[in-house]
């Protein structure tokens, strides 16, 4: 389309401005490079450059407060990280456990709730709107509220437990229960998102397979297991992919509620990177951590995308 327009103008203006014509001809020939050019340049500046620069920095020792510039040390940061760092492996395990838990709970619950909300019932619109609230609220504010509720001395949750005769829990204040308590908040906060994705998936399903299943006398459980689930597979993988990436880089609720504590019991990779770069100002080492962290996220994403392509 644009080529046509340009050639039209070319025909009328060519005799009057030969130099302009040459430029326009050049533009014409290279349009396929020129049009995506700005987008590619932006992409390069905002994504590729920082990534490459981070990888480059990860081979250096550099403290942001130091008067000296970065000092090249080869792969020493990585050796330290994999072989000697006492916080890296626990942080990686915490991140993976948290992610698996978060994806499992949010996707399962999301699918269940979507299944309930997809049928017509009075007040469905209201129910769908209310369900979204945890996701819309500011995570930091919500984390603070949860922290107050989970306070072992003055929190409301332990009071509720005592009402039903259960012993009090330490919630985020014990290394034993901190991950579970954080998963509770995470699930509460992000189930609405998976519900929303599943609702969209359910609404887009064709009606015929369900009808024929019912005609053949399948129970509702059989319909769900043999018809709904296979049809929803693409949707579920998308939901899991989004949730995996989000959960791997979880930051706000953990930072606000525990700062990675007690001790380092809830320190995730992302939190460790934050401490190393912005608290310890150790930018070289933080870059090495980021590179590893990036690899973990990329690997998880690739895995899920592959799952989506292969047969059930």
């Amino acid at each position: 389309m644009s080529t046509l327009l340009t050639s039209g103008r070319l025909a009328t203006s060519a005799p009057a401005r030969p130099r302009g014509a040459a430029v326009e001809r050049w533009i014409d020939r290279n349009l396929r490079w020129l049009l995506p050019g700005p987008a590619v340049a932006t992409m390069f500046l905002l994504m590729v450059f920082p990534l490459v620069y981070t990888a480059y920095l990860s081979l250096h020792e550099w403290y942001a407060s130091s008067v000296l510039g970065p000092r090249f040390i080869g792969l020493q940061n990585y050796v330290q990280l994999f072989a000697r760092d006492e916080r890296f492996w626990p942080a990686l395990v915490t991140t993976l456990v948290f992610t698996v838990g978060s994806v499992t709970f949010t996707v399962t619950l999301g699918l269940g709730i979507a299944h309930l909300l997809v049928r017509a019932f009075p007040g469905r619109g209201l129910a769908r709107t209310l369900m979204l609230l945890p996701m819309i609220a500011t995570p930091v504010a919500m984390a603070l509220v949860w922290m107050t509720m989970m306070s072992p001395t003055i929190g409301v949750l332990n009071w509720l437990l005592s009402l039903v005769g259960l012993p009090p829990s330490a919630w985020v204040s014990s290394p034993k229960s901190v991950i579970a308590a954080l998963l509770l908040v995470e699930t509460w906060m992000w189930t609405p998102m998976t519900t929303l994705i599943c609702l969209a998936g359910l609404a887009a399903l064709p009606g015929e397979p369900f009808e024929s299943a019912r005609v053949d006398g399948a129970s509702s459980w059989q319909v769900f297991w043999h018809v709904t689930l296979p049809l929803l597979r693409a949707t579920l993988v998308i939901a899991a992919l989004f949730r995996t990436i989000d959960a791997l880089k979880v930051f706000d609720i953990v930072y606000v509620m525990t700062e990675g504590g007690p001790g380092f019991a809830s320190e995730t990779l992302n939190l460790y990177v934050f401490q190393t770069s912005f608290k310890y100002l150790n930018l070289g080492y933080a870059s090495a951590l980021i590179v590893v962290f990036f690899t973990v996220i990329a690997a998880a994403s690739l895995l899920l995308i592959r799952v989506r392509r292969t047969a059930w």
């Binding site: 403290y63 985020v172 150790n282």
Partner: protein, 442 residues
């Protein structure tokens, strides 16, 4: 005929005399300050990066026009919350643009790092120079120990602003009901905590910080009072000495046995909450919290609190003595003008204003002023003043370059001991970690 030069000289002398007369007759605060020339840097512009605090916001900011009128120096006073403040300052100083003329720093935290990076202008020569420092400034008016706060590696790098020590806060009514005396020694302290704990009623004998990095500050007196130190003379960690292990063990045990549940997540704000909510009998933390505790709108225990020094051990009673300080930037192009501002902001008049606003002061004259003495509880004032000379300047943590990292390593040991690990194992692990951090960063 050649004209004699005499009339010209006479005219010049007359003009000079007139201008001198005019200058001295000008109505200006200079006359009130004696002979010191406050207008020397008239027309200069300076820029300070500072940490958000009542002092920066409510004492200095509104008074800036007075300084500008006194000196003719224009001041940009840029206030940031603590974390952003440190990041902003680091970015500006590393860029080396020289656009920052002065800044604040918490010397226990930033001191050695800033000194090694060459950001501080040593100010001894300014203080000693009568052409640059008003005779009214009287640096000797600052408590000697607070001057040490602004001294890093033997160099005076600034002026201390609002000092704090650690105190023991206790519930007078609860002690009276149980017929207990205020603990004077570490043994009595643990004993009292034990007797006052009533877990069935959700009431606990003692609370202090249990959260990783924050807890290092409140652990410090436990180590000092048994005779320990953070570092030896060569700057190596001293966490496995008998005194340090004993202190760590006692601190962890008291919080584990007599502290509220979830104490490993307790930062200073939670200490204040638990005390204000009447959930604990004793708390050890910074002296700063007195106004919060005595404010009936925020505290259920206002009027029932007693203040005491941290109970003594075999080596006495020593707490960290820390303060923010204000310094001239070594990169500044207007160092003298920046010093003019600092000596004004920490002058007797300004510090008296600070005292009137109940912000603790480092100047003896302001401390003893009627306004300050009548604004805070007598017992608190007496205990603070008694603890001050025994305070260890800047020892809120080992004074190293990488303080946050070091505090996290020691904090991990504190959490481990609270969780029931043997103090010796935890101390050995922390000792190794801190030694490595120091080796890597210094």
């Amino acid at each position: 005929m050649l004209r004699s030069p005499r009339p010209i000289i006479a005219t010049l002398i007359a003009l000079l005399g007139a201008s001198l007369l005019w200058m001295s007759a000008r109505p200006s605060p200079v006359t009130a300050q004696g002979t010191f020339d406050w207008k020397r840097f008239n027309g200069k512009q300076i820029r300070f990066l500072v940490n958000s605090h009542d002092w920066t916001n409510e004492i200095i900011r509104p008074a800036l026009p007075e300084f500008e009128q006194l000196t003719g120096i224009k001041v940009a006073w840029e206030i940031f919350p603590e974390d952003q403040f440190r990041q902003k300052l680091a970015v500006e100083m590393v860029s080396g643009s020289g656009s920052v003329d002065g800044f604040m720093s918490l010397t226990s935290w930033d001191g050695l790092r800033f000194l090694k990076a060459g950001w501080y202008e040593p100010i001894e020569k300014y203080v000693k120079n009568p052409a640059l420092t008003s005779p009214q400034f009287l640096f000797e008016d600052f408590f000697p120990n607070t001057r040490q706060i602004a001294t890093v590696n033997g160099q005076l790098i600034g002026v201390p602003l609002y000092p704090e020590v650690e105190l023991l806060y206790y519930r007078k009514d609860v002690f009276k009901a149980k017929n207990l005396a205020v603990p004077q020694t570490m043994e009595e302290w643990e004993e009292a905590a034990k007797k006052l704990t009533d877990k069935a009623n959700n009431f606990y004998g003692f609370v202090s910080r249990g959260k990783r990095s924050a807890a290092v500050y409140t652990l410090a007196p436990f180590i000092f009072n048994f005779g320990g130190q953070w570092l030896d003379k060569d700057g190596q960690p001293q966490l496995t000495t008998p005194a340090a292990v004993k202190g760590l063990d006692l601190y962890g045990r008291m919080l584990r046995e007599y502290g509220p549940p979830g104490v490993v997540n307790v930062h200073t704000y939670e200490v204040v909450d638990l005390m204000s909510q009447g959930r604990v009998a004793m708390a050890s933390d910074s002296s700063n919290w007195v106004s919060s505790f005595e404010n009936p709108a925020k505290s259920k225990v206002a009027g029932q609190l007693g203040y005491a020094r941290i109970p003594r051990g075999p080596a006495g009673s020593h707490t960290p003595l820390i303060s923010w300080a204000i310094s001239v930037s070594a990169q500044s192009k207007n160092k003298e003008a920046a010093w003019y501002f600092i000596q004004w902001a920490t002058s007797r008049d300004m510090v008296l204003r600070q005292a009137k606003a109940k912000i603790p002061v480092a100047r003896e004259s302001a401390w003893k002023s009627h306004e300050f003495q009548s604004s805070l509880p007598k017992e608190w004032l007496a205990m603070f003043q008694a603890a001050l000379p025994d305070g260890y300047p800047n020892q809120a943590n080992p004074v190293v370059v990488a303080v946050p990292e070091t505090r996290d390593a020691i904090g991990a040991a504190i959490v481990a001991v609270i969780e029931g690990q043997p103090a010796r194992d935890a101390a050995e692990k922390a000792q190794k970690a801190v030694a490595e951090i120091i080796k890597k960063t210094q």
